[in-house]
C-alpha cells in the first residue's frame, strides 16, 4: 500500500492506445499523427472531473481517484504530510472503522493501493466490474468523512517511519536522490522529500492532517477516472448518485515559492557504507507542459536512455568504468529536473566519468545532433509512452496523470506530434539554455 515515488528514467507520460496508429505513420512517412480520441470527460456540478474510458475486454474496472495535492503544498515542519494523509485514508471513515475498508475490498476481490508525489496524490483499485457500485460507495465515503483518529495516527506514523528507513535511510541511491533535490532547489518545496523528514514524521497531529484533508480532499480538487468494463450511461448514473451530493469547497489560491534561476554551480557530497562511488549531475529544467519539455525529454533519452545512449556506450561499453548510467527527466508542475546518474565500478574514481558526462553535455550544447540519433530518441520516447497503455489500469493511470498535470487530458494527445516536431537545431538551442556549467549541481555519494 501507499507507495511513494513514481519516477521513471524518462518522463512518465501518457497517451492513448489509439495513438499507436499515428505513431505507425510517424517514423516512415513523417506525417503528423491522426488521433482518434474516445475517452469521455465531464464535470459534476460540484466540480468533480470525471473521465470515462470504456473497454470491455476483461470483466474488470480500474478505478482511480487522484487529488491535486502533493508535497509542494506542505510548509515548514510538516514535510511529508500529504503522504501521511494518504496512509490515513486507509484507516477508516465515520462509516467504516479502521481495517474495515481493506477487509471489504478484499472480501469482494478488489486490490487497492495509492501513492504520493510532489504535485498530486492518487488512489486506485482494480475490481471485478460487478463491484463498481460498492467501490463507489466506499470511495465517496472516505472522500467525505474520514475519521483521522489519534490512535490510528500513532500506529501508522510508525509504519511511515519504517517506510522512510527502508526507502531512503537504508537505501544509498535514494539518499543520493534526496540530497540532489535539496541541492538543486534552494527555495521551492521540491527541495523537501515527499515522504518527509524523520523529525516531521514524528510530529504530525490529526489537526494538521485534518486541515489538509478538509482543504484538498474535495470534489472540485479531484479527478475520477474509470477505465474498463462498464456501460457509459449506467456508470454516469452511479457517479451522479454517489458523488453528486458532495459539496464543492472554495480552495484558496495556492502560491508556491519560486525557485530563482541558478547562476553558480552547486556541489554536495554524502558518505555512506557503499562499495563504489555514485554521482548525479543535475540541472534545473522546465515545468510540465513548457514548450521546451519535449526537447529536454529527447536530450535525456540521447544522453542516458538505455544501452544505445551516449553515456552507456562510453562509460559502460567503451571505458568500462561504470556499472550503470541513466538520465532522469523529472517533470513537475512548477519546475523540472534533468539528472544524469553514474554508478562507478568499485575502486574507480569519479574524474574520468565526470569528464565523459561533461563532454557529452558540451557536445549536445554546441554541436547539432545527427538526425538518425534524434529519430532513435523519438521512437524510443514514443514507444515507452505507448507501452504504458497496454492494460486498462495503464490507460486509467495515463488519463489521470494527463488530466491532473495539464488540466486537460486531450492536451497530451499532442505529445507525439510535439516529439516529432523537435529538430536538431532545437535540441542544441534548448541544451544551450538549460545545461550550462553555472546551472548544474554535482551531488556525490562516496564510501565512508
Amino acid at each position: 500500500m501507499k507507495t511513494l515515488f513514481d519516477i521513471k528514467i524518462i518522463r512518465a507520460s501518457l497517451l492513448f492506445s489509439c495513438l499507436f496508429y499515428s505513431f505507425f505513420c510517424f517514423s516512415q512517412k513523417k506525417e503528423l499523427a491522426k488521433i482518434n480520441f474516445t475517452a469521455q470527460k465531464y464535470s459534476l456540478k460540484n466540480g468533480l472531473t470525471v473521465i470515462l474510458y470504456q473497454d470491455n475486454t476483461i470483466p474488470m474496472v480500474s478505478y482511480h481517484t487522484w487529488y491535486k495535492v502533493g508535497s509542494r503544498d506542505e510548509y515548514n515542519g510538516v514535510t511529508g504530510a500529504a503522504h501521511m494523509l494518504e496512509h490515513m485514508m486507509f484507516k477508516g471513515s465515520k462509516k467504516y472503522s479502521a481495517q474495515e475498508f481493506e477487509r471489504i475490498l478484499h472480501e469482494n476481490g478488489i486490490t487497492n493501493n495509492a501513492f504520493t508525489t510532489y504535485d498530486y496524490t492518487g488512489f486506485y483499485q482494480n475490481l471485478p466490474s460487478s463491484k463498481l457500485e460498492l467501490m463507489m460507495q466506499l470511495e465517496v465515503d472516505r472522500m467525505s468523512q474520514l475519521s483521522l483518529k489519534e490512535e490510528d495516527l500513532l500506529s501508522e506514523r510508525e509504519v511511515v517511519k519504517e517506510e522512510r528507513r527502508w526507502r531512503v535511510d537504508n537505501n544509498p541511491l535514494m539518499s543520493l536522490f534526496e540530497l540532489t533535490m535539496a541541492t538543486v532547489f534552494k527555495n521551492h518545496n521540491y527541495r523537501n522529500p515527499v515522504i518527509g523528514t524523520m523529525k516531521d514524521i514524528s510530529n504530525y497531529t490529526t489537526d494538521i492532517l485534518r486541515s489538509f484533508y478538509q482543504t484538498y480532499y474535495v470534489p472540485n480538487n479531484a479527478v475520477l477516472v474509470l477505465a474498463g468494463d462498464f456501460k457509459l450511461n449506467e456508470v454516469k448514473r452511479l457517479i451522479e448518485k454517489y458523488y453528486g451530493s458532495l459539496e464543492a469547497k472554495p480552495i484558496a489560491e495556492r502560491i508556491y515559492k519560486k525557485e530563482p534561476l541558478q547562476t553558480i554551480q552547486f556541489n554536495a557530497r554524502m558518505k555512506k557504507e557503499v562499495q563504489g562511488l555514485s554521482f548525479n549531475l543535475a540541472f534545473q529544467s522546465v515545468p510540465q507542459n513548457h514548450r521546451d519539455m519535449f526537447a529536454m525529454d529527447l536530450i535525456c533519452q540521447m544522453l542516458g536512455g538505455g544501452s544505445s545512449s551516449r553515456l552507456h556506450k562510453r562509460l559502460i561499453n567503451d571505458k568500462q568504468i561504470a556499472t550503470s548510467s541513466y538520465c532522469m527527466h523529472l517533470n513537475m508542475q512548477d519546475q523540472g529536473v534533468l539528472s544524469l546518474h553514474v554508478s562507478m565500478k568499485p575502486g574507480q574514481t569519479m574524474e574520468g566519468a565526470l569528464n565523459v558526462v561533461y563532454n557529452e553535455v558540451y557536445s549536445v550544447r554546441n554541436f547539432l545532433v545527427k538526425e538518425t540519433e534524434l529519430e532513435k530518441a523519438k521512437i524510443l520516447s514514443i514507444k515507452s509512452l505507448v507501452d504504458s497503455l497496454r492494460t486498462i489500469d495503464g490507460k486509467a493511470r495515463a488519463l489521470a496523470t494527463s488530466e491532473i498535470t495539464t488540466g486537460n487530458h486531450e492536451s497530451l494527445l499532442s505529445d507525439i506530434q510535439n516529439y516529432q516536431k523537435v529538430t536538431p537545431v532545437e535540441i542544441k538551442e534548448v541544451a544551450s539554455k538549460y545545461l550550462n556549467q553555472n546551472q548544474r549541481s554535482i551531488v556525490v555519494l562516496e564510501a565512508k
Binding site: 492506445s17 499507436f20 505513431f23 505507425f24 517514423s27 516512415q28 475486454t57 476483461i58 474488470m60 479502521a98 481495517q99 481493506e102 477487509r103 478484499h106 472480501e107 469482494n108 476481490g109 486490490t111 487497492n112 482494480n126 471485478p128 460487478s130 500506529s155 506514523r157 510508525e158 509504519v159 511511515v160 519504517e162 517506510e163 528507513r165 527502508w166 535511510d169 537504508n170 537505501n171 544509498p172 541511491l173 557504507e273 557503499v274 563504489g276 544501452s307 544505445s308 552507456h312 556506450k313 559502460i316 561499453n317 568500462q320 556499472t323 554508478s343 568499485p346 529519430e375 532513435k376 521512437i379 524510443l380 514507444k383 505507448v386 507501452d387 497496454r390 492494460t391 486498462i392 565512508k448
Partner: protein, 436 residues
C-alpha cells in the same frame, strides 16, 4: 454460486505449431494494437549449472546482447533502438527468457534481428571480459542493497551445496574461471529449438507467421546433454542465521521452508493458504505486524516454485530495535496458523480475490503467451487456465487446513536476519549461525 459472477475464463484463441527441429511455437493474434512480441523460453537455468561454473548461464544469456557476427555491442544497441524495439534477457533458476517487442512497422526487420541475436552471437573475447568485469563489480555492489542481499543470503541458507545457493550470476571464483570456450559450449548445448518454446503475439498476419516459421526452422536441433542432480533439502539443526552489515539502520528478515514443485495437485490450495497468511493487505501477517503493531512498512509471504522443488517465503524489514519482536511475532503467527487453521470467512475472501484478479494475469496477449510456455514447461495442462474458477470454487476450509498442517513444517524453517551488529544482544539466545 459462481464467484464474482464468473464461470470460465475465455482464453484468446492461439495456435500451436511444432517445427521439424522440435521448436514449439505459440501464435496468439491480437489486431487491436500494431505491435508484436517474440519470446523465446530456453529450458536452461541455474539448475543446469555445476558448482565450478556457477553463473555460466547468466553470462551466456547476457552476452547475447553484446554482439553478433554482423554487429558489435554498440551497433547492436543502435539497431535495436532505431527499430524502436526492446530486448529483454532474463536468465532464471529453471529457464531463460529472451524477448523482443516492437511495432509492426518494423516487424520483419525485428524478426531478422532477433534471429541474428539468437543464432549468431559472437561471444567475442573482449565482450566476455567486459561482462565478466561487470558481473564482478555487481557482486561487490549488491552489498549496498540490503533487501537484495537478504534475498541472496536466504537462498544460501536454504540451498546448501547447490547452484541455487548462489545468485544467478554466480560468485567471484566461478566467474573468473569461466572461459569463452565454456560459454560457447553451454550455448551450443542448450540454446536449441528442441530445448525451447517460442511465443509470438500481437498483430500477426499470415506473412509474419510464415516469416517466423521460415526463420526459426533453420535453427538446427541437437541432442541436449544435460545432467541435473535432483536436489533434496537437507535437514539440519541450525535454525537461525545472521549476516552483519555495518551501519544498516534496519534489519531485513527472511523466513523460508521447503515446499513441493509447481506441478503438484496441492498447488492451488497452497496459494489460497498463502493469500490468507501473508498475501495482501488484510493478511494475518500484515494486519498484525504492520497495522496493529506498526513494526514494518511491508510484510508478505509467497509461494516460490521451481522445476524440482518449492519454498514458502516470508520477507519483511524493521528498525534495528524491534528485530527480535518481529521475528518472534512471525513465529507466533505461523504457529497459530497451524493450530487454528482458517475460517470460512477468510476462505471466501481469498477465493474472491484470486478469482476476481485472475483475468488481469491474462489481460494482454503477451501475458497469455508467457502462461502457455510456463505451463507447458511445468508439464501442466492448459486446462489449468480453463478450470481455474471451478477449481478455486470447490476448495473447502478442510482442504486448506490440511495443506497448512501438511506443508507448514516449522522444524524445517530457517530464519535469516541481515542487520547491524547493534542487534547482537536481542538475538544472542537464539545462537544464530553467522553467514559470510
Amino acid at each position: 454460486m459462481k464467484l464474482n459472477g464468473l464461470n470460465q475464463i475465455k482464453l484468446k484463441p492461439y495456435k500451436e505449431v511444432v517445427l521439424e527441429n522440435g521448436l514449439k511455437i505459440f501464435f496468439i493474434k491480437d489486431m487491436t494494437l500494431p505491435r508484436i512480441n517474440l519470446s523465446l523460453l530456453v529450458k536452461v537455468g541455474q539448475r543446469d549449472e555445476k558448482m565450478d561454473t556457477l553463473g555460466i548461464n547468466y553470462l551466456t544469456a547476457s552476452l547475447l546482447e553484446e554482439g553478433t557476427s554482423q554487429y558489435n555491442s554498440n551497433q547492436l544497441a543502435d539497431q535495436l533502438a532505431s527499430l524502436g524495439t526492446d530486448l529483454s534477457i532474463l536468465p532464471g533458476p529453471d529457464y531463460s527468457i529472451i524477448s523482443i517487442d516492437g511495432l509492426t512497422l518494423s516487424s520483419e526487420k525485428m524478426i531478422d534481428l532477433f534471429s541474428e541475436i539468437l543464432f549468431k552471437p559472437s561471444f567475442k573475447d573482449s565482450e566476455v571480459k567486459k561482462i565478466k568485469e561487470q558481473i564482478l563489480s555487481s557482486i561487490k555492489k549488491v552489498k549496498d542493497n540490503p533487501s537484495q542481499l537478504a534475498d541472496i543470503k536466504i537462498d544460501q541458507v536454504m540451498f546448501k551445496d547447490h547452484p541455487f545457493s548462489y545468485p544467478s550470476y554466480g560468485d567471484e571464483k566461478s566467474i573468473k574461471k569461466i572461459r569463452r570456450v565454456d560459454i560457447i559450449k553451454h550455448y551450443l548445448n542448450y540454446y536449441r529449438p528442441n530445448n525451447s518454446y517460442l511465443a509470438v503475439s500481437g498483430a500477426l498476419t499470415e506473412t509474419l507467421e510464415s516469416k517466423v516459421t521460415d526463420v526459426f526452422k533453420e535453427w538446427p536441433s541437437r541432442k541436449i546433454e544435460t545432467e541435473v542432480v535432483p536436489y533434496s533439502f537437507k535437514s539440519s539443526q541450525d535454525k537461525y542465521f545472521i549476516y552483519y552489515k555495518k551501519g544498516s539502520v534496519q534489519s531485513e528478515i527472511r523466513v523460508s521452508f521447503p515446499l513441493f514443485p509447481r506441478n503438484h495437485p496441492d498447488h492451488l490450495k497452497l496459494r489460497v493458504a498463502n493469500e490468507i497468511f501473508g498475501g495482501g493487505f488484510v493478511s494475518r501477517l500484515n494486519s498484525k505486524i504492520r497495522d496493529q503493531m506498526g513494526l514494518t512498512y511491508s510484510i508478505s509471504s509467497s509461494v516460490e516454485h521451481r522445476k524440482d522443488l518449492g519454498t514458502f517465503d516470508i520477507g519483511t524489514f524493521t528498525k534495528n530495535t524491534s528485530t527480535r519482536a518481529v521475528l518472534d511475532q512471525i513465529q507466533k503467527e505461523l504457529q497459530l496458523y497451524i493450530l487454528q487453521g482458517i475460517s470460512a470467512k477468510e476462505l471466501a475472501a481469498a477465493k474472491n480475490l484470486l478469482t476476481a484478479q485472475f483475468p488481469r494475469s491474462l489481460e494482454t496477449v503477451d501475458s497469455l503467451a508467457f502462461n502457455l510456455m510456463y505451463l507447458d514447461f511445468h508439464n501442466i495442462s492448459f486446462n489449468y487456465l480453463n478450470d481455474y474458477y471451478k477449481n478455486i470454487e470447490k476448495l473447502t476450509v478442510e482442504d486448506i487446513n490440511d495443506v497448512i498442517k501438511t506443508y507448514f513444517q516449522l522444524d524445517q524453517a530457517k530464519y535469516f536476519i541481515l542487520a547491524d551488529d547493534s542487534i547482537k544482544d536481542q538475538i544472542k539466545e537464539l545462537n544464530p549461525q553467522e553467514v559470510k
